[in-house]
């Protein structure tokens, strides 16, 4: 290879190795028994994977799986609702002309600039006032509306739904609801998948909101659960194996989702990125 090829390829591979380093470390470390974790070479596989899984499985009556299920519920339910709300709002913003359209759009989008903490603390206080703090609702509801989802949906609707189809539907006597359901939504599906993925990852990865909202560890998502495990186990290296195994299991679903949905990350990301 000529240097012109060698240098960029080499630098990219170094970047790739750097990014894979912690992931491969957790993959290997989850196989080590408590003794092996500190004695075996960093990347030498151990013999304790099954024991670690069994121990994690029985930790506080299987609370880890509860965290996993909670996370799937928050991320799946939240992203689904978010996609529907965004798609319907984006369709209205792109395909109708009405008073206050730009004002509504700008206000909704402006929400992106508000720091999460300015929202999370008062959201907690308000939920506490109506007795809903420390419930599933407290984590689910605030994450449904996402300004970026609406922004993307507006672009997709504008690009994917031709006015002529809507006009034809109106001439045939279709109601606006029918037009949305039969014409708009089917054409927007690829864009909606991307919105769903972004929102799914955002909720799956969120720490601050559930950390503030929840006190009962039966309702924790993985991020908060693993944090409490770490906070409890920082001075007990015997818990490290549990944390490492839990960390590995917690990233498997998202990495799987991410690898199988490559197409949607790649192509549709540009729709939302800068093409002014």
């Amino acid at each position: 290879m000529t240097p012109q090829r060698l240098i960029p390829t080499g630098i990219l591979l170094i970047g790739a190795l750097y990014c894979l380093l912690p992931v491969s470390w957790v993959l290997v470390s989850a196989t080590k028994s408590p003794g092996e974790l500190f004695t075996l070479g960093t990347f030498t596989p151990g013999t304790g994977l099954l024991d670690n899984l069994a121990e994690l499985n029985s930790y506080r009556n299987g609370v880890f799986w509860k965290w996993m299920a909670n996370t799937a519920f928050y991320a799946g339910g939240g992203a689904l609702l978010s996609t529907v709300v965004s798609a319907v709002a984006g369709f209205a913003l792109a395909k109708y002309r009405f008073r206050g359209r730009n004002l509504i759009f700008n206000v909704l989008i402006g929400g992106v600039l508000v720091p999460s903490v300015v929202l999370a603390v008062p959201q907690y206080l308000l939920f506490a006032k109506i007795g809903l703090a420390d419930t599933y609702w407290a984590v689910l509801l605030p994450q449904i509306l996402h300004p970026y989802g609406i922004y993307l949906a507006r672009i997709y609707a504008g690009a994917a739904v031709p006015d002529s189809l809507l006009e034809a539907g109106r001439i045939d006597g279709g109601s606006e609801w029918r037009l949305l359901g039969r014409v708009g939504v089917p054409l927007m599906v690829p864009g909606m998948v991307t919105i769903f993925l972004f929102q799914f990852v955002a909720i799956w990865n969120n720490f601050l909101l559930p950390f503030i909202m929840l006190g009962d560890d039966g309702k924790f998502p993985l991020t908060v659960g693993l944090y409490t495990l770490l906070a409890a186990g920082a001075n007990q290296p015997s818990l490290y194996n549990l944390i490492v195994t839990g960390a590995l299991l917690s990233i498997i679903p998202l990495i799987a989702l991410f690898l199988t949905m490559q197409r949607y990350w790649r192509t549709d990301l540009s729709g939302g990125a800068v093409k002014g």
Partner: protein, 317 residues
């Protein structure tokens, strides 16, 4: 942690002209007039409940304080009263908060420069025709996007621990190194996403531009610097703004690394101080005032940055 595509209001306005043209202008029946509002109703209701109301409540709380009468015992001895601007004044002049700002400034400068620099470099390399194994590298570098900030901090945190680290001789969590160690977690988590945004923008540039330049005898480096880079500027500006906002609000990484070291205080970043004030010391009013200061700083910084670069990036229409 990483820099998610949390919106793009910047380019939204330029889209308006196009989308409004495509909007139908023919008059419709009553149902059609109400339809867009009905479609927008869920979003508006959610916005009012989970954005507008909490913001208003924060502003309200920041002007309140607790007044203790008598010995402060019994019902009614503690009352919420108006405090005027005292809380905000206290937040602005709070030395602990300022120290937090300084730490975040150093950390943030490091993260922004390294993360966006690497993202740009990787994106340009991926886009060049001469690279082997590009697909593997692209997927591997984007992979950390799928790892939650808590888990990323936890994995690196363990790799930093003297008893587990493969690299001896450095106290990664010591007082001097801890900022760099934390910045590394953020760089690791955020580079891939920003790279992908920049890369998809690069792919959108018509290839014919490069052909023309090559015929004129331009080298690959010259094409990258003279054609690709200038056309990427809007995307770079956008990723920078969102990275800035996210960095100002850094919370997850220091909070997660805290149990592993005693070099990170409970008020290491401004957001951590808000959390401590609200939930540990129970002073909601100063927490509210501090959140407003953080909101003001993020807005001033992001708008200030946009103002400075706008002339160059968007051609000042």
């Amino acid at each position: 942690m990483s820099i998610r595509p949390d919106g793009a209001s910047q380019i939204a306005s330029s889209k308006d002209s196009r989308t409004s043209r495509s909007g139908s202008t023919r008059e419709g029946g009553v149902s059609r007039g109400a339809a867009p509002y009905l479609f927008l109703a869920p979003a508006i209701v959610l916005f009012v409940l989970f954005f507008a109301l909490p913001i208003a409540y924060t502003v309200f709380l920041s002007f309140r304080r607790t007044q203790v009468s008598g010995l402060g015992l019994g019902r009614g001895a503690r009352q919420e009263v108006w405090a005027g601007g005292a809380n905000l004044q206290a937040a602005v002049s709070d030395g602990e908060l300022w120290a937090g700002w300084l730490r975040v400034l150093g950390y943030g400068a490091l993260v922004l420069v390294v993360m966006l620099g690497l993202a740009l470099l990787f994106a340009l390399f991926l886009d060049s025709a001469h690279v082997r194994l590009a697909r593997f590298s692209r997927i591997a570098i984007f992979l950390p996007y799928a790892v939650p900030g808590v888990v990323a901090s936890l994995l690196w945190g363990f790799l930093y621990l003297p008893s587990l680290t493969p690299i001896g001789g450095i106290d990664f969590l010591g007082a001097t190194a801890v900022t760099y160690s934390m910045a590394n977690v953020a760089v690791w988590g955020g580079t891939g996403f920003n790279m992908l945004v920049l890369y998809t923008n690069l792919r959108a540039i018509p290839r014919s531009y490069y052909e023309a330049a090559r015929i004129d005898g331009a080298s690959e480096l010259a094409i990258a610097l003279r054609i690709k880079l200038p056309m990427l500027v809007p995307a770079i500006v956008l990723t920078t703004v969102f990275s800035l906002i996210a960095t100002i609000q850094v919370f997850t990484e220091p909070t997660t690394l805290r149990p592993l070291t005693n070099t990170i205080s409970s008020t290491w970043s401004p957001l951590m101080k808000v959390y401590r004030d609200a939930f540990v010391t129970g002073d909601l009013y100063s927490a509210a005032a501090t959140s407003l200061v953080i909101a003001a700083v993020s807005m001033v910084v992001s708008f200030g940055f946009l103002r400075v670069v706008r002339g160059r990036a968007f051609g000042e229409a």
